[in-house]
Subunit: 136 residues, 2 copies
Amino acid sequence: MMSPALTKNQSLVLDTLSRADQPISAYTILDRLRDHGFRAPLQVYRALEKLQEAGLVHRIESINAFVACAHRNSSCCGGPHQHGTVAFAICTECGHASEFHDHAIDHRLAIWAGERHFKPHKTTIEIRGLCETCAA
Amino acid sequence: MMSPALTKNQSLVLDTLSRADQPISAYTILDRLRDHGFRAPLQVYRALEKLQEAGLVHRIESINAFVACAHRNSSCCGGPHQHGTVAFAICTECGHASEFHDHAIDHRLAIWAGERHFKPHKTTIEIRGLCETCAA
DNA sequence: TGCCATACGTTATAGCATAACGCAACAAAC
DNA sequence: GTTTGTTGCGTTATGCTATAACGTATGGCA
């Protein structure tokens, strides 16, 4: 379970995501790292791929954006990165995304898959709508 | 709740999706309708937008593809298009997508949203993995 | 008839993602 | 210490996905 240390590019991308207050696109990351020598999209996408594998970054499919894992330093759900499916609630007004986990949902999905002998690899759960502030 | 009849373009797009045995991209739809006079992506996207509003077509976010609603002629879940959130299990090997619904999951998501005063607009649930046939 | 809403067709452009090439750094095997 | 394999890096080019902005056409209705 020992992961290699992050490379320079991977650290830069993760830092950029950590500093963002909402999910941002790969091209936004690229723009924010031009001063650090980034020139091409692949530099971003390659780093993102590794960070996702390490569970440090999540991709939000419905908006083509990326976000640092909100729990990468916590011990919830049995320890870092031991948790189940990641879910997001994304405000379409302010762009903020809340990450959460729900074991009951995981369980229901596991039951559905088990009954049909479907082997899940990656599950996406995303709610788009208005956060409390923006709905008011 | 009376929807206007589909336009010619909308019918062509829906027919194309109904004939496909798996989700297909907007550009694939475009290619399959060139013989019917389609020339530009917007002709497809505009039809897809209306079909989605009518609940006849679903977009699968994780693969940027579209599929005809599997239940558009059924009376499950209290009648046509009265059902809750649509979920998909997509086989990354053969491309097939199974549409399903789970009220328990809907309920859990509703609870999460309610506690945080989040107003859901559209919810995405997608499991990518291997179907029984492809996993064997 | 005039107005309005909706759909349509076209061109252009924006935004997201990967293929394919070669090079560099580093560690394990010999 | 050289070979070899793996991983990451940089660059160019390309492909796929989606929408902006314009004008036209159609049909309902006052």
